[in-house]
């Protein structure tokens, strides 16, 4: 068993949150630059260049990329030989649901520290319907844990904005549904998201699994590099076809027209029930913030 200190995990998550808030990933910046060069609509190209300039200002002047610094979604790949060495004297967990000193407590401690020290916006309310009181720490994070072989801990922090998340959708298709029908529905989800969700988008698609698995896949898909296609040829072609259909909508940056409605479409799949064909679309804005570290 390999013991990783509670503090080490918290510090790693803290620094991932801060860098996500201020530094647009290289592949996203490269996709914006390429789109700005290819864009045939001058007004749309101007907006794309403003987004590139925004990323430069954010990094150089330490102003967050976007005021919505997001809900922290943390994907954990925990080696089966990894154990957390608890912080000494820690009696209270960051969240009521967690044991003080465990992995989830360490992650939430890191998120709270990152959002506080990094001057990021605290956008989490404790109760969804009744009081909606802000927790003032941006915790609890949404944590998805996977146990894998080995003795390493891989942490990916995605800070997800509310505006684009609000436009994400799920649909349960008949298992006999044709590829074209699913493409039409996905394109319509993107069209409906429109100007409200800050295009150009990155579109995460989860196909298969069950109700919750397809939604999780659609978000996990967003962790992939934008220029990396699905390893399966059928789904790689689906990604390419979806991207051209979406860009043919003409929504453009900010929904004001243009060739660039999405920067990429990323599809992930899973086996599913003979009766089901679940499909989920996670809409991500151009401020596509995610950072990974391996301990």
């Amino acid at each position: 068993m390999r013991y990783i200190e509670f503090e080490k995990i918290a510090e790693t998550v803290e620094s991932l949150c801060v860098s996500a808030g201020y530094e647009l990933p290289c592949d996203v910046l490269a996709a914006l630059e390429e789109a700005a060069q290819k864009e045939s609509d001058p007004a749309a190209a101007k907006i794309l260049n403003q987004l590139i300039e925004n990323a430069r200002i954010a990094k150089d002047e330490r102003i967050p990329l976007c005021q919505d610094t997001g809900l922290a979604v943390v994907f954990v790949q925990r080696g089966s030989e990894v154990a957390v060495k608890p912080a000494s004297g820690r009696k209270q967990a960051t969240s009521n649901f967690r044991k003080a000193g465990d992995l989830f407590d360490a992650i939430n401690t890191g998120v709270a520290a990152g959002f506080q020290k990094g001057y990021l916006r605290k956008s989490v309310v404790a109760d969804p319907l009744n009081k909606r009181k802000n927790t003032r720490s941006n915790t609890p994070a949404i944590i998805h844990q996977q146990i894998v072989a080995g003795d390493q801990l891989k942490l990916t922090v995605m800070t997800k904005g509310g505006g684009c998340e609000n436009k994400s959708r799920f649909w349960m298709f008949r298992p006999t549904a044709e590829r074209d029908k699913i493409i039409d529905w996905i394109v319509d989800v993107v069209r409906t998201a429109g100007a409200d969700a800050c295009p150009p988008f990155v579109v995460g698609v989860g196909i298969g699994g069950d109700f919750e698995m397809s939604c999780l896949l659609s978000k996990m898909a967003l962790c992939r590099k934008l220029d990396q296609r699905n390893s399966d040829k059928f789904y790689a072609e689906l990604e390419t076809d979806l991207l051209s259909r979406i860009n043919a909508l003409g929504l453009g940056p900010q929904g004001l027209g243009g060739d660039t409605t999405a920067l990429a479409v990323l599809v992930e799949t899973a086996a599913c029930h003979i009766a089901s064909l679940p499909v989920a679309v996670n809409i991500e804005c151009h401020s596509h913030r995610h950072k990974t570290a391996v301990i």
Binding site: Q50, N54, P64, L65, R121, G163, A195, D196, C285, H286
Partner: protein, 176 residues
């Protein structure tokens, strides 16, 4: 593309009537921040006949919840949030004198009717450009609902804040 128009807050009826969907504008002067919860409270105050925390007549509301300011700075990132979430509340504010809103994205039919009936506009600015837009904000102070944190109402002084007329007072929209 037409020449960029300069707007000085508060706005007059004539200012609003000079604007057409698609016009690029640069806004200067005082604008007030408000998001979901602040809108709900403002409308409750109007219904109760209470005094509002700022003069609504001719006012511009900016749909934004900024990040905290670093020491020595006026404000953090400050880009627009989705305007349509304010659709249930905006008509009441427009009927009571609000002349412009700054946000991003679409507005519903009731808002568009109110823009026509009372002569007001909806401006869209660059969603997700919170760092760039913050440079146009030279002063910020919380004036109401401090308990709401980022969602409190702030009076911002803005200089040449860039936006586009998304919905004008004649029923036209920049969105297809």
């Amino acid at each position: 593309m037409s020449e960029i128009k300069k707007l000085q807050a508060p706005l007059t009826e004539a200012d609003v009537r000079s604007l057409r969907a698609g016009d690029e504008v640069l806004v200067s002067g005082a604008v007030y921040t408000a998001r979901d919860m602040a809108h709900k409270r403002l409308c409750e105050s109007i219904e109760a006949g209470d005094k509002l925390p700022f003069e609504l007549d001719g006012a511009i509301i900016y749909f934004v919840g900024p990040t905290p300011a670093r020491p020595g700075r006026v404000i953090g990132a400050a880009g627009p949030t989705t305007s349509s979430r304010m659709d249930p509340f905006s008509p009441k504010l427009i009927a009571n004198g609000l002349k412009a809103m700054i946000g991003k994205g679409y507005r519903g039919d009731e808002v568009r009717e109110a823009l026509k009936k009372y002569s007001a506009v909806h401006l869209s600015t660059i969603g997700g450009a919170g760092a760039l837009l913050s440079r146009h904000i030279v002063a910020a102070e919380v004036i109401a609902y401090e308990d709401l944190g980022t969602e409190a109402i702030r009076r911002l002084q803005v200089v040449d804040f860039p936006a586009i007329v998304a919905y004008d007072c004649y029923g036209s929209s920049v969105y297809k």
